[in-house]
Amino acid sequence: MAAMRNAVLRHLRVKVGYPFPAPAGTVSFADILRRYFSQDATASFLDKSEVLDRVITVVKSFQKVDPSKVTPTAHFQKDLELDSLDTVEVVMAFEEEFGFEIPDNEADKIDSIKAAVDFIASHPQAK
């Protein structure tokens, strides 16, 4: 192995110079923009109107829901005539749409579109 390495290195020329142009003394604005961290670490909150749109799309595509009844203030059980198990399914659909996890006790409290929008918009990991 060492002999092979020597043989390769004997025919190889590694440029020792510094390949980049000399740096400017100041930090440019582009450098600041480029300075990002992990997407998950710098999670941000979603815009409420966008959340509302996506929540309504999810609820409308739910099989047992009449799409014409879906409004931003609709209650799942009173207005949309879903039962408690359907509500569980809808909340799970939200989790999949926004790619995050709702704790069990919080998921139990989401009973209307407004509650869902409030929770998702205030959750930093929803995306």
Binding site: Y18, F20, A22, P23, V27, D31, R34, R35, F37, S38, D40, A41, T42, A43, S84, L85, T87, V88, E89, V91, M92, G99, F100, E101, D104, A107, D108, Q125
Partner: protein, 119 residues
């Protein structure tokens, strides 16, 4: 007092049972998703689960309901997935507490290899 108390305790017990059932259904659905390697398998599993819940929808006797819930919870515990999916940043996930953002007051200047001593 006794009849009002009886109604109150009945309602309290009933709502506690409803909450247990909701929680059990939620966990069961997630577990069905954990076991399913393809989406179409999950749809079938979720539909079967729902049917099992619907089968006992009209049971009225409180003790019978309690017994059914206990049996279902025992079954859920027995067949629970040993290695469930956890959203990466959630507690227990692979990104939990990894790569936290630096403190807000600290300024890090990444010069991308163009540090001054290399000039």
């Amino acid at each position: 007092m006794s009849s009002a108390g009886a109604v109150a305790s009945y309602l309290a017990r009933r709502s506690a049972q409803k909450e247990r059932v909701r929680l059990l259904y939620r966990r069961g659905l997630k577990d069905a998703l954990n076991w399913a390697v393809h989406r179409h398998l999950f749809y079938q599993g979720a539909s079967d689960l729902r049917e099992e819940f619907e089968a006992n929808k009209h049971v009225e006797d409180l003790d019978h309901i309690d017994r059914l819930i206990e049996e279902a919870e025992a079954r859920f515990e027995k067949f629970r997935h040993p290695d469930p999916y956890i959203v990466p940043w959630a507690p227990g996930g692979s990104k939990f507490c990894r790569n936290p953002p630096p403190y807000p007051g600290i300024e890090i200047v990444y010069n991308h290899g163009k540090e001054d001593d290399l000039q």
